[in-house]
């Protein structure tokens, strides 16, 4: 029965998994893109740091279901539009990453930054060529949390009828079947681990200069 169900639903499961991947990756990347300037702003000004980081963190406390329901009214989208989910998860990603980017930039050794200034780096050259590369380890660590959290929060969108792995939960619940439930959970865990490992690998690739004794 178990294998039969999976086998006969394989195309459907594949489609849901691909949807899940897309709906996780896109908001994570969008969130990072928005969090970079916000985090930089918080890092730049000591006075605005608590306000920016505080406001960003607060966004994470908005329940996801509420956000899924409210967003269509704000954005003027249909309730079933995946854009709602993308925007909601982008908001959560921003919420997690603003502090991470700010702290990552703050973690760059003071002497390194001062040396760049004294050598005649312009502000943007210093940011792009010196500060951001050195903030990668901290940002990558935050990104791991954000992506795993997105994989999990995304399943809530099943309640709105947006197809992804969470759909297997509602389906299993309605049909009183354990197999789709367990399959969905296992695939979610597998996806989370895969994304997490991918970021660890990318982080190492981008930071060959780190001491090898540090294990992720």
């Amino acid at each position: 029965m178990t294998v039969d169900w999976i086998w006969s639903n394989l195309p459907r499961i594949t489609e849901l998994t691909l949807n899940h991947i897309g709906l996780t990756v896109i908001p994570t990347i969008l969130g990072l893109i928005v969090a970079l300037p916000l985090g930089w702003w918080a890092h730049r000004s000591r006075r605005s740091y608590p306000a920016i980081v505080g406001a960003a963190s607060l966004l994470y406390t908005v329940p996801s279901l509420a956000l899924f329901v409210i967003l269509p009214q704000i954005l003027g989208t249909r309730i079933l539009d995946p854009i709602n989910v993308v925007v909601a998860l982008t908001v959560y990603t921003i919420s997690l990453l603003v502090r991470v980017v700010a702290d990552g930039l703050n973690s760059v050794p003071h002497e390194t930054v001062q040396a760049a200034d004294a050598m005649g780096y312009r502000a943007w050259q210093r940011l792009v060529l010196v500060e951001l590369p050195n903030a990668i380890p901290v940002i990558a660590a935050g990104l791991r949390i954000a992506v795993v959290s997105n994989v999990s929060i995304l399943t809530m969108a099943a309640l709105l009828g947006i197809p992804q792995l969470g759909t297997l939960f509602t389906q299993g619940f309605q049909l009183r079947l354990y197999v789709p439930l367990v399959t969905g959970i296992l695939l979610c865990v597998a996806l989370a681990i895969a994304f997490d490992s991918l970021i660890v690998w990318l982080g190492r690739l981008l930071t060959p200069w780190r001491q090898k004794t540090v294990t992720a």
Partner: protein, 368 residues
């Protein structure tokens, strides 16, 4: 020439870091700013490349007011070396040195090649080039810091406590090498230190600042030791200034060098003959001193390495009276060992002769 004209720095809370400083750092010379913490020496230095803006007064480079220049362009003309080197952790050693030339549009190949030459110039083996900063010792990182500051061949160099973070032996080594390098490149340098020994050793001129950011005295090291302007400077250059001052007096012909009877390792004791004192100098095959031998305590018939007393030091004929005196004081025979530029023995000078030479020199120049 870096010229401070009545420069002050006052912070919004009323703290005065630098108070009406006027100072000239001549071209091709090394000017040291020295003083206790809170004397504004680092603030003064950072105002040169506008990391800090002066509250009043002007700083000019070869007659051009730095305020009239673009800050980025100004900084690119001034090499900067800081304590702990401040290397870029994410770049290899060679790319750290090549960073600024590369930023200014040089090709990767050309800038790296030049960086390799600079690394060699500061005494770093090419095997370090592809390593990252954390893989180097503090002293090695500091050498890279110097190479990086010289990468665009800037006419000016600012050095903020450049040798403070390394152990004393490495520090002395880095200082000696830096002096040799500077003799070669003749940059206009302003160096900040809290270490008066370093200031006296490195500086062509030394500016002593006092707490509150006022200039107490600016003079050559020898002048500073001989004529401290007030009790603060006298106290700051230290109670050993009489001895330190001898470091700026060259040995000359007025000090008699006498030939010294020598033995070689492996020589039979029966061939020594009569010696004027119980200590006799041992030399190697090319007449370089290797240590003193106590003729009354030689174990066995052959003079061996274990008979050597190694407490003595040698001094070069081109050295200072301080080196000579030190050699005599360290020697068990109280005779200073003088060598020529090849390291071969020239002769010895007795402690008595050194002291009377110092006394005569002082009488000839009663002011010093």
């Amino acid at each position: 020439m870096i010229f401070f004209d009545a420069v002050s720095k006052m912070y919004p809370d009323g703290t005065v870091a630098v108070d009406n400083l006027s100072l000239n750092a001549p071209n091709g010379k090394l000017t040291v700013l020295v003083g206790p913490s809170g004397c504004g020496k680092t603030t003064s230095m950072r105002m040169i490349n506008r990391l800090i803006a002066p509250s009043s007064g002007t700083i000019s480079l070869d007659g051009v007011d730095t305020q009239s220049m673009n800050a980025v362009q100004l900084r690119r003309k001034i090499g900067y070396v800081i304590q702990n080197a401040g290397l870029f952790p994410h770049r290899t050693i060679v790319d750290n040195v090549a960073a600024l030339p590369r930023l200014l549009g040089g090709s990767r190949k050309q800038t790296r090649m030049h960086a390799m030459e600079l690394l060699e110039h500061v005494g770093l083996d090419s095997s370090f080039a592809s390593r990252y900063p954390w893989q180097l010792s503090g002293g090695q990182q500091q050498r890279v810091g110097v190479a990086r500051a010289l990468a665009t061949d800037p006419p000016y160099l600012l050095m903020d406590e450049p040798f403070s973070a390394v152990d004393p032996i490495v520090r002395a080594q880095l200082q000696d090498e830096f002096l040799r390098l500077q003799a070669d490149i003749s940059k206009t340098i302003v160096l900040v230190t809290h270490d008066v020994d370093e200031a006296l050793k490195l500086g062509d001129q030394v500016a002593v600042l006092r707490t509150g950011g006022t200039l107490a005295q600016v003079a050559s090291p020898a002048d500073l030791l001989a004529h401290p302007t007030d009790a603060f400077v006298a106290d700051f250059v230290g109670s050993a200034r009489g001895y330190r001052a001898l470091g700026f007096v060259n040995t000359d012909d007025s000090i008699p060098v006498t030939p010294e009877q020598t033995v070689t390792l492996g020589q039979h004791t029966s061939t020594i003959g009569r010696t004027p004192s119980r200590w006799i100098l041992a030399v190697n095959a090319v007449n370089q001193p290797v240590g003193w031998v106590d003729v009354e305590l030689i174990a066995g018939d052959i003079i061996s390495a274990s008979d050597l007393n190694l407490s003595g030091t040698v001094t070069s004929a081109a050295g200072s009276v301080r080196d000579l005196l030190n050699s005599a004081l360290a020697s068990p025979s109280s005779r200073a060992v003088m060598i020529d530029s090849a390291g071969a023995l020239r002769g010895t000078v007795t402690l008595h002769d050194i002291v009377s030479a110092i006394g005569q020199a002082k009488e000839a120049r009663p002011n010093s």
